[in-house]
Subunit: 627 residues, 3 copies
């Protein structure tokens, strides 16, 4: 597989006489791809129905003639000002019922039929015009679905569409009432049009109601994206991509990715560390200029799965950004490391965001490869280095990892609908497992719960709302909170866990405050969550109070709580020993990724790290042929 670099570029921000020089310099830097156009609707269609494509024609021509392949974005994340006059009710509505207006981006509700048609219309016009353009080698749909929490909208349009969704799913109000248990608190509906959105209730809404609304929301995002994909494919054979984000559980990226040819994501390791990673201040200080050592890899492994293996980085952080609580600069070498880490995890292409820092508007403090005065920013040299290294590096392929880790958006909706403990967070639960596997030096495939677990030596699947029977066919660690609910968010008749082969019932659960962990005999503890396991399965681990902590039936293991890091390390080590998996104990900040032929090492630590005879400087990258 040929691995390539690219960059995001906004010709509409710069005088036309700079374009050719920019393109030449991109090529000189070693870039192959350039993404354009995704925010330029006001320049494509300055007034309703009046179009101006000439400048875009020339921009594509200039970039293409320089040897660059163009990713052309549909501009639907930024409808122009006239659009909101045409559709005054198109705005997303927040949980308090307040419309979110014009003046930034993503000011549309996924359930607004009129805007979905506008989105299809502009996409079709672009696909017709550029579908066969030889320079347009890929498409991007919209931009960062759910950015700024825009997937969930509490609008009147959403309510009507949700009523339809419920009618299709449940067929009759009685069936819905039974499925949700609406007899409770006299919440029964006589018709689907009585259903309100589950915000603004006096106290918490029915979790079945919330879960249904979350599934509906995901379906609306997927539908919106599919409309664009379908119309592009009518006119173009170029692959279709969308750029996902980090730690987003508002819609099902597997469902959305199924309509794409390539999944991509926007990777901002330093912004994420301060904004989205649950780390101590000490760790935030340590990794301030590098990012969390596992957060990027996790999403690489996740989005490798969402479109059947093909994935990119569409936006790679090049320097300080503008949107995190604080915005420091990367440790020199990290933009190179981040790119190599993506390639080691199977990325086809890594695009830096953006070519040149814009001197105006919301992102003027967001670095690029070039400074606003057209001199080099620090990252440009690192990008050039990666390009040169790519040319000389061995070609590697993605190997299936020995271990699979299930990520299931439906479970995220479920536990966000009913956390039961205020800090129960499904993403964190899965990510904690991922970190433990990585500390042991393991490469991981993140997979949907429909995975065939017999393809892996070990599958971890914490926190699954419902457990497919197929999972129990492999060696799998389930729990906590696995199969304790039905599809409709009620307790199963036999209490659960509903897992084939297990003879254990969870008779009650406890959520635990941070100051009250429950120690596990032999080391480690349960935090946040613990289940009372009752039954005849083999007891693998016990709490210090002798209650079962982990049970097993054959190779199906069930964890009755949320392990802390020490307990995860024990569990991973025990399993590895049992099945002969080769693990190690990596120093803090050092990480490994295995490809088919080579092993890669990455040093996220701010200091040099030595392990197993190899020393890596800060931001160091190393690869060796696998033995």
């Amino acid at each position: 597989m040929k691995r390539t670099l690219g960059v995001c570029y906004y010709p509409e921000h710069w005088p036309e006489d700079m374009w050719a020089a920019d393109a030449a310099k991109m090529v000189e830097t070693g870039l192959s791809w350039v993404r354009i156009g995704e925010f330029a609707w006001s320049r494509y269609e300055p007034e309703p129905g009046r179009f101006d494509w000439d400048w875009l024609d020339r921009a594509i021509e200039t970039l293409g003639n320089a040897g660059l392949k163009v990713i052309l974005g549909t501009p639907t994340a930024t409808p122009p000002r006239w659009m909101v006059d045409k559709h005054p009710d198109m705005f997303p509505v927040d949980q308090n019922g307040q419309a979110r207006g014009f003046g930034s981006r993503r000011h549309y509700c996924f359930s607004h039929d009129g805007y979905r048609e506008e989105s299809r219309r502009i996409t079709e016009i672009m696909a017709k015009r550029y579908g066969k353009n030889p320079h347009v080698a890929a498409w991007q749909t919209d931009n960062e679905y759910d950015c700024h929490d825009t997937a969930i909208s509490w609008s009147d349009h959403a309510r009507t569409a949700f009523q339809d969704w419920c009618a299709q799913r449940y067929q009759s109000p009685d069936a819905l009432n039974r499925a949700w248990g609406n007899v409770f608190w006299s919440m029964e509906y006589r018709s689907f049009d009585e259903i309100e959105l589950p915000n603004q209730t006096v106290c918490e809404p029915n979790p079945s109601h919330l879960l249904a609304f979350r599934r509906f929301t995901s379906d609306q995002v997927v539908r919106f994206n599919r409309v664009q994909c379908d119309v592009i494919r009518k006119y173009s054979n170029a692959p279709i991509i969308h750029n996902f984000m980090g730690r987003i559980t508002a819609f099902d990226h597997f469902d959305c990715g199924a309509d794409l040819d390539i999944s991509s994501w926007d990777s901002y390791p330093m912004g994420f560390l301060l904004d989205r990673v649950n780390a101590s201040d000490e760790d935030k200080a340590r990794y301030l200029r590098q990012g969390d050592p596992d957060f990027q890899a996790f999403h690489h492994d996740l989005y490798r799965a969402t479109s059947a293996g093909r994935w990119w980085i569409m936006e790679q952080q090049p320097g300080p950004v503008n949107w995190a609580p604080w915005n420091p600069a990367p440790l020199p070498g990290m933009p190179r490391l981040w790119a190599w880490e993506a390639f080691a995890h199977g990325a086809e292409t890594v695009c830096y965001f953006r070519w040149r820092q814009a001197p105006f508007a919301q992102e003027q403090m967001h670095a690029g490869l070039m400074l606003p005065d057209d001199t080099d920013a620090p990252c440009r040299a690192e990008a050039a280095q990666v390009a040169q290294e790519l040319a000389e590096a061995p070609t590697v392929g993605t190997a299936q990892a020995p271990v699979a880790l299930v990520f299931d958006y439906d479970s995220a909706y479920a536990w966000e609908s009913q956390p039961q403990g205020c800090d129960f967070d499904y993403f964190q639960l899965v990510f904690d497992a991922y970190k433990a596997l990585r500390r042991a030096g393991l490469s991981v495939d993140v997979v949907p719960k429909t995975v065939d677990p017999t393809q892996y030596k070990l599958t971890l699947a914490p926190g699954l709302l419902t457990v497919p029977d197929t999972l129990a066919q492999g060696r799998v660690i389930l729990g906590p909170r696995a199969g304790l609910k039905t599809e409709d968010m009620t307790i199963p008749e036999d209490l659960g866990p509903d897992v084939v082969g297990l003879k254990t019932r969870t008779t009650f659960v406890e959520s635990l405050p941070p100051f009250a962990p429950m120690a596990v005999a032999g080391g480690g503890a349960f935090v946040k969550w613990r289940e009372n396991l009752d039954g005849d399965d083999a007891v693998i681990l016990c709490l210090e109070n002798s209650a079962p902590a982990m049970v097993a039936a054959g190779t199906t293991f069930y964890l009755g709580g949320w392990p802390d890091a020490d307990l995860w390390d024990r569990i991973v080590a025990d399993q590895a020993q049992a099945i002969g998996l080769d693990t190690t104990k990596l120093p803090d900040g050092l990480r490994i990724r295995d490809t088919d032929t080579h092993r890669f090492w990455f040093n996220y630590a701010p200091d040099s790290v030595t392990h197993d005879g190899r020393t890596l400087p800060p931001a160091g990258v190393l690869w060796e042929k696998r033995t």
Copy 2:
């Protein structure tokens, strides 16, 4: 007095063929009472005016025939969906002016005349039908007034009703303007219909305005409840009960209780600990599975007073609940302890909530005596044990306690209207005094400020907005902040404290941040609040800076600040010594309650505790004949 157990049950949640077996098992468990019906309006009246009572008839018959006495609830806390179409403006409105909608419960505004009539209508229909039913042995009105902060509503209906309330109280706008001091900031009204509710002002509203609105709110709750009581009494002789909650100061429970035959309350010791008790993390960890050692007893003593001595627990926590920030399971033995503690404080009946955990909707994670799969939950055995013990235990009666502690809802409204220090909380002030009395092994009567203090050896009455002259006839500790205001929340002409016999003026007050307590000479400190006492009364305690901290005229004591725990312990010990009260110093977690003939000990500590020759295990209960 015969003490009994009961349980809350929802026949509408279960197949009818389970009812008889459920009833038999309740009886087998030793339960006498079963509360039903309070959330089933959508099953009573599925459409406006169309009723279905057959199932309820059969449910009552089945339960009654098994030997159970039924408490029948009016369903007005959960109006069905059609009701909100009929009265689209019936919702309570939050402080920001936003209506709180359908989809959970308590979605009505106490000031909505139309809904109050609906409430009377359904109550009358039920009272007519079941008023003479031999199995219906008690009534419950509505459910948990003010749950989810629903007593205060900022609706248009509330505004109009408040204008009427003001007109009745003040008779003329001029009188109101004078009483509230509306000349200040040109806030004068020319007519009552100019009065707005005191939300959404630019800065804080006039505290007199706020206090009046709080009193009005309480009157609205009382009136709503009274309508139901009056109509039930037309058709039934069974006692009328309402289930109050813990730490609720939104309405006057003495006023409301005066219309009831029996006060009851819903006791969730563990949920309260994490959600409503002001404790350190260390104490929360220590009492995580037991609850605060004084919180339950305080409310037992309080609600014993609100309906002239008759009181119940209507809902007793049986296991983990669903609504606290975290929801652990009780220490084994605690559900037994909690019941015995209630009986020791004079409860007639303790009902566990609920019979069987519901597998659906909002409370699916709320434990019951039975699991959703109809097997026993841990609490069932404890309930059965209590039932058996009750049969064998001596009959005891409630003795008047030696010490009275005044709780005054009007003072809570006042200081919530004008805290002056951001952490000044009337409930906490009274509760701190209660804890000190309990640490000294004393039994306490919580009383209204209309109490005759000569009936008690000592009366504590901290934080009274206004002080009745009668209080000074006994031995009483007043202050801080006692009699420093008029009825209308202005400063008295002579500054106050307006207390008969005292010759002290409070010339200024100070609220104190947590990092700046003021030490009292000899030990302890004032926290949060301190008054500058000026006058000729005897100085009992001084600050380390020599200013008076506590003064006295005869047996009227005035505290010029908020004592910390050490200072409260000193004060209680000094008073006890002066009047020959028998006190002790109980170990942390051990508590005592005296009945007429027996002394009870309760161990809330997670470990065994020895005191005075007696050792109690964790969750231990002990009683001995008083000597």
Copy 3:
């Protein structure tokens, strides 16, 4: 210059038969001025167009006859209830779009034309009636502009006015689009009436948009005030004053002050310490009863500049107040110290707020010189002592300070529009510099950025949005974040800092979390902010990682970060040594202020402090002839 004392008084709050005695006692206390009338509109005009001036005539007569000079306030901060019926849309609107209603004060939007006319009307009527009254010796316009965050209003009136403001500034939508970079995210406007206010956007609005709105808001406040000044001057020769507040950056006090004869401000040292000063809990405990040692002085020096040197304290805290999170009482002596400190900084008059504590309404817990029962509050004796001392003290004049410190409201708007790090606060940046100068014993002139720096030995100007060329003519310390933007909040073509003479470019910036300061070689550190300085200027300070921290071209110094206290102390000491400024290292809490002839010492510490042979008790004030 004759220095005088005064007091704020509300004759409308008290029976008329008290007025004469009050006036006599004011004179006896040594007071010369009495401010009245600013909240009494409902008594001037009880109904629209019906006036009652008799009582005010008599009040002025009574006070004047006693020998007091009256400051008469326009009552426009408290429009009466009938006004909001006349103009139902006059309310200020909060950022969420919610109108802020009647029931307290300042319930008007500065952009409401109808209310501005009402304000002009009542002012003209008062100016006509009292403009030549011999007792009316000064005017106050309105009261505390922006109190309760009322300067910024997001109303429809504000939007329309803002569109006009934009049209006047930019002349064409295209010019505005270019200036703000609205091509970004397709935010281009086709006409000015498409412009919305920058609230309720999906994510952050364009910082150029926000900055423009902040400038517009300031202009609206200035215009509102100017209307009153203009109409008063038509009828009166008495000086016009407005009472500013502490730490307010919502409007440009230099612009507003230019329309006044005298700037004044309302000084509440203890409330400010707990509410507005960024201090540790340790420092808050230490200065709890004194206030921050620099906060008052800073505002004295600031408001001395806003009306060309003439300034007052219009409201001086006399004791506990009602509005801070906690409200303790002052250390005895502090009300005297605060007054003397104001005089040392050049105040003409210090008015205590208020004469007698009101027993009712919002400020009933706000101390005065008299208690509500008409006995002395502690502060009255201190006021009398100051009056007596004033009579005996030497007459001093304001000397120009050796050091200037630039305060620029426009920069405050800019960095509030784009902080880039969540704790970047322009006021704090300037105040940190001020504190360092004060710790070194220096007297300071706070000046606008139009200052002639050659008049000062040293000028500090941290954080200027844009840097006037004139500043570089003196010895000046600029940065961080100086000249890094254009007037319209975009990055300059050459990146900046745009400072005449400097050959440095800031190639990137970093905002830093509290747990990640960057150490400066030799001591101290950068916190919150750091710039990468690239260029040929002389390097004065380096980071420990060798990057330049401070550079200089001649006497123009540029700081590439936010210095912590240690680094500021080093910089001040180095500069002082370089230019022969006499500095010292004052003990914590001791402060110095130099007048033309005398040096004053003030002890804010809670203990006695000795320095340079002089010992001051707590709250001590000392002055000596300068040598």
